[in-house]
Each structure stands twice: as C-alpha cells, then as structure tokens.
Symmetry: C2
Subunit: 419 residues, 2 copies
C-alpha cells in the first residue's frame, strides 16, 4: 500500500467527507453546530490547558511581542465569544440548495443553477486560535469540508479545538474528517496543500501580508486573496466639514490596526483651506503622526514630509498620509493608483460627484458620506465573515456563507439530443 504524506492523506479523507457534508440537511448541520457550541463551552478547561502549553512555549522564544502573545491567548471570555460566533452561524440561512435562473429552452430542456458547497476549503492562518473554530463553523454550515493549517505557535490549542469539533462530528453521525488539522507546521506541508488541485477546491489565507503573498505566489489551487487595505477618505470641495471630520477621525482612530481603517486622507484644495487647519490638530492630539504633501505641510508645522512610499503603505498604525488634490479626478486617480481595492470613501454634498466617485473608484466597497470602517461581514448584514476579499474573482469585499459555495447547472430533459 502506498504511504501518503499527512497533507495528502488528510486531503483525501476531507474530499470523501465533503461528499457527505454536501448533502447533509440544514437541520443536521445546525444540530452539529449547536453540539460544537456546547462542547466548546463545556471543554473550556481543556482548551485553556492546551493554550497554556502554547503560551509557555512562546515564552521560551526570544523576541516575541506582546501583541503576538495577545493574539495567541485564549481566555474564558474569548472561548465564550467563539461559542457565540458558532450560535450566530447556526442562526444564518443555509445558502445551499437555492435554485436560480430556471428556464425552459426552445428544445424543452429545463436549465437552471443550484447553489452547492464549494467542496473542500483549505484555510492557512496565523496565530489566532479562534480562527480554527470560526472557519470550521462557517465551512460546515455551507456544507464544506475544511482543512485547517494554523501556525506552529498555536498548534496545541488548535489540536484540542479540532479534536473537540471532530468528537461532535462523530457523535452527530457526520464524517469526522470534515474538519482536518494539518499538524505538520513545516512550510513544506503548507506548500503541499497549496498544490492539491482536484482535492482542494479553494484556499483562503488569513493573516498578515507575507502569509497572503506566499499563498498567492505558490498556490495552484484557486485562492481568494484577502486582507490588505490601503484605504482612503476623500473630502470634496463643498463637503460638510463637520461630517468630514467625524468620518476622518472614525476611519483613522476607531481601530487603527485593521484593514478597513483609513491610511491616506485626500482633500480637495478648496476644502483643504478650512478642513485641514481644523482636523489636523485633532488627529495630532489623538497621537497620529501626519505625513503630508507640501500643501498639507503648509497647514500645520507638525506635518512631516510624505515620500512616495507613504502613498503605498498600509500603516495599520497611528500614522496618516495626507494629500491635497486639485480635483475629484485627481483623487480618483490617486486611489486607483495606490489603493488596494479595499474600501474607499468620498465626503461630498454634490450628487454628480458622488455618482462619479461610486462609478470610477475600483474597490470592493465604495462609500459616500460614511466611514470606511463599515466594511465587515456583520456590518454589511452577512451575519458572519470569512475574511474580506480584495480580488475581483468570485467574491469581492466581506465574504459570508455564499462565498463558500458555488453554482452548478442542473438540466432536466426528456431525451433531448444535440442536432
């Protein structure tokens, strides 16, 4: 008998399991999700014990950051949040089985499309162990099997979480291989997963830029690129400057470390005259470092000089690039040149310019008079989120359950043959 690698053998098992999950009823899937919810709550101590092993191992290493430690840490409260996430996923409508576009062709063939699970979804992610439960819950609800590949730092936490899920799969009569964890945390194992065309239908990387880049560059399995957000707010000539200030402060300060936070502020030269003298001190007071174009620098002595790299950088920090532009079209060009097609906003009072901005900015989410911070599965009413896609293929913006499904054509005939 052939001996397969861990990745290949688990992918084969997941593929088989996906056939069963794909035809599981909504009732069965929801019962499973509630069983996992309860198990996660009941096994709190087991999870925390495993997590402590990961945290202890981390402490042996040099130079880990407090932020990294925090991402790895599981507490009672965070475990409760996982359970709450599962309950929310359970409550979502099942996307599988929806039929669209059914119509009879002139030859009598009845042709339409039915929404089906994607099949086997691979998730490659970094330290946060809550992704394990979150991603598994979403994948299962949409009828998929999932292969999880977390980081070495979280391996003990991930093992216990996956074991808890698999115990409930077994108990519920569904195949436990619907959720598989790759325990080999070597880079080669991840590379192998990225090349399993035919066994893995979709790969979603969740984590920092270098992780996503590595998956996009090495994967032959279809990938959904997520994450990077170099987002802009453009304050138009004649905008309500009070509204503009509220949006700018919110987009920069409400949570600076996330992908939908603003990284560059663009102001029309006419708006800049009153707006920048008013808003720059507020940003500086809040601890934001401002890097501006020469015209921006003329509005406040604390503004540092922006260089080319500033227009291209997703700071994820209390730093803001600011540029004064001569026109709406210059703002749009700046965004389409430097943006990462994530979330872009205009603040304006002008109907035509709002329309023009909406039409000409090439991004997953384009806003008029609102903060970019709303780009999020919950805020958009999807009820949950598997990440925010910044590519145009398949899914763009926040990905809910529907992004984890595909459409297949079904054709009802009565003996038709092609003439």
């Amino acid at each position: 008998m052939a001996v397969y690698s861990e990745v290949l053998s688990k992918a084969r098992l997941a593929r088989d399991a996906s056939r069963v999950l794909g035809s599981a009823s909504t009732v069965d899937k929801n019962r499973l999700l509630l069983m996992i919810t309860e198990a996660v709550q009941n096994e709190q101590q087991r999870i925390i014990d495993a997590n402590e092993v990961d945290l202890d191992n981390l402490k042996q290493k040099d130079g880990y950051s407090a932020a990294f430690h925090d991402r790895l840490l599981l507490t009672e409260q965070r475990i409760e949040a996982m359970a709450e996430g599962l309950r929310q996923i359970t409550a979502l409508e099942d996307p599988v089985g929806e039929v669209t576009g059914m119509r009879t062709r002139p030859n009598g063939l009845l042709i339409g499309q039915v929404r089906v699970p994607m099949g086997v979804i691979g998730i490659i992610y970094e330290a946060r162990p809550n992704v394990t439960v979150d991603a598994a819950g979403l994948a299962l609800k949409a009828g998929n099997a999932v292969i999880l590949r977390g980081s070495s730092e979280a391996i003990h936490s991930n093992k216990v979480l996956v074991q808890i899920i698999r115990e409930q799969l077994l108990k519920s009569g569904l195949p436990e291989d619907a959720v598989c964890l790759i325990e080999d945390t070597d880079r080669a194992a991840a590379r192998e997963l990225m090349r399993l065309n035919g066994l893995v239908d979709l790969l979603i990387p969740r984590g920092g830029r270098s992780l996503i880049k590595s998956v996009v560059e090495n994967s032959t399995v279809p990938v959904i690129e997520t994450g990077a957000g170099n987002c802009h707010v453009y304050v138009d000539e004649g905008a309500d400057l009070e509204m503009a200030a509220a949006i700018v402060l919110n987009a920069k300060l409400q949570r600076p470390g996330v992908c939908n936070a603003m990284e560059t502020l663009l102001a029309h030269r006419e708006a800049a005259k009153d707006f920048l003298p008013a808003v720059l001190p507020l940003l500086l007071e809040a601890g934001v470092e401002i890097r501006g174009c020469p015209r921006t620098q003329s509005y406040h002595p604390a503004v540092k000089e922006a260089v080319q790299a500033d227009w291209e950088t997703e700071y994820l920090d209390l730093i803001l690039a600011v540029r004064v532009v001569d026109s709406l079209s210059e703002a749009v060009d700046h965004i389409n040149s430097y943006g990462t097609m994530h979330s872009e906003a205009i603040v304006t009072r002008d109907y035509d310019r709002a329309r023009l901005f909406l039409n000409s900015v090439d991004a997953a989410a384009v806003y008029v008079n609102a903060s970019t911070r709303f780009t999020d599965g919950f805020e958009f009413g999807l009820g949950a989120e598997m990440g925010i896609s910044t590519q145009k293929l398949h899914a763009r913006g926040p990905m809910g359950l529907q992004a984890l499904t595909s459409l297949k054509y079904i054709i009802y005939g009565s003996g038709q043959i092609r003439p």
Copy 2:
C-alpha cells in the same frame, strides 16, 4: 525613464484603458462592436493575406498535422462567422450596471452591489485566430480591456486582426489599448503575463491540456480553468433504452473531439443485459473502439479490455470506455472519482434516482435524460461563450458575459461612523 518589457508596458496601457472602457455606455460599446464587425468584413483580403503568411510559415515546419493547419486557416466563410459572432455579442444584454441586494441597514446605510467589469482580462490561447476576435468582442462588451497572447503560428493573422480592432477603437473615441496583443511569442512573455497581479485581474487559458496546466501552475493572477471534459453517461436500471441509445450515440458521435462529448458509458447491471447487446454493435459500426470492464466484454467479443487509465482518459476521439456497475451509488462514485467535473448525465425513469444523481454528482452541468453535448454557452441561452469553466470558483460551466464581470459594494451614507 524606465524601460519596460513589452508585456509590462502593454499591461499598464491596458489597465489605463480599462478605466475608460469600464464607464463606457452600452450604446458606445455596441457602436464599437458594430464598427469592428464591418471592418472585419471589409478587410477580408487583408486578413486572408496575413493568414497566408502564417500558413506558409507552417508549411516550412516538419511534422505539423492537417488538424493544426485547419485550426489556423481563415477562409471567407470563417471571417463571415467571426463577424456574425460579433453581431450576436452586440445583441446581448450588457451585464454591467445591474444593481442587486440594495437594502437599508439598521444604522441607515444603504448597501448593495453593482455589477462592474472585471478590469483587465488576459487570454492565453493556441492556434485558432478566430479566438482573437471572439475574446476581444466578449471582453469589450462587458467593459473590459483585454490582453491577447496567441501562439507564434498565428502571429501574422492575430496582428492584423488586433490592428483592425484597434483602428476601430481609435475611430470610436475609445482607447485603442483596450485591446492589446503580446507580439513576443516566447514562453517567457506568457510567464510574465501570468504574474502581473494588480495589472491583470483574470487570466483565461483557451487551448489544450498542456496550455491550461501551464497557466494554472505558473500563474499568480487569478485563473479560470477551462476545458478538460471526461464526461459520463449513466444508464440506470429501468431506463427507457431507446432514449438511452439515442443519448449515448449522440454524446459519443455527434462531435467526438470536443470537451462535452461522452468518454465513459456506465450501465447498471440490470440495464446492461438488454442495453449493451443493443448499443455496442451500433457504436462499433460507427467506428468506435470500445474498452470495457470484464462484464462489458461478456456482451460483445469486439470489446477490448479496459485498464485503469481508460477511466481517467479524455479521448476526444472515437474511443469509449464502458463499465457495468451494481448500483447508482457505484456510478456516482465512479464519476466523482474519475470525472473532471464537466458534464455528467443519467438516463432514468425513476424520480428519486434522478434527484439523487443531480444532488450527488459534483460537476459543472448535471443532466437527466439529455445528451452531455448541450453544455455550451449558446445552448444554455447565454448567447456567447468564453470557454467552459471546470473549477468552482467564480464561474462554473459555460461562461457568458456575466463571468467577465465582478460585483462591487456601493454604500450610500449620511455621515455614519462606526461606534
């Protein structure tokens, strides 16, 4: 000034052109398409002259096949067919601008999605020069710029066709770089195109297996995999055997060299008893070589022994693998194991088994009581086709204009900020 490669400089020009095409009106795009249609007809001689250079060059080479020569050849009739294809594309509804799912969130934000062009689409294809006009027409109608990379054998034909299209773009006031041809037919140029993330939004390979494999393996730009079809017809216990014979003969013989032709016939052991003795002679008479399992061999002495590879092979030829199975579920397992998720059919009289087959076969198009040969953009009512996707991401089955678009979220606010 930096000097860019042909591929990179054309991709940059195409990206800029795509911004203009993306907001062109349906009226403008249709006028352009009709201008190209007329130009293709008026410039017939210019096209045929260029094609003759390609054909002459081909004759200098050793070992080219008659089939290859035929794929490369352009005739008056074929040029008329190109023009007719463009007229059909012109008549199709423009998918761009459709708005879906608009709803007001509790905080007053009005959120929905608008259908937008994909942006820049790269097409990598083989000898047939009619793909040049066809692909450009579809891409333009959906508001995209297109970068074409044909094969060296068709370079003179492709150059003239692209020049004719670009002349009409210029005349119509739209940017001529909306259609670019990579004239460097070296493999390295194709590889460069496959890695232009950020400039190219989508790559579609059109051609044989090795071309598609090469694009899937080397591309970091999102790809839609097209083509390979190892399709099955399963004749169920109790099926109408006359209908089954008509479908089997059609699926195998109507055009054996295409991706939606049947490559393996599966017969339930009860159906096989009457069906195989009746249909095998008809197939053999039509010149089909039959490779069967032992039970199939017992029904006709001319049936050769099938080996493992036969279940996996897309013959595209007058060869058919035949297997007798003990149950519907064995047929489904066979299809899900060996199929390429293209087109699969059951012939049955049983309602529940029809349902089960539709639900459990994992393919782009699943048929009850009809020939697999219908999997085609025109037959499905899409009006045109950019290829048949065999992946699950974004588009599955025949791809029409909608597959060349994406959805972007548009959000209308009144000053909302995230609490």
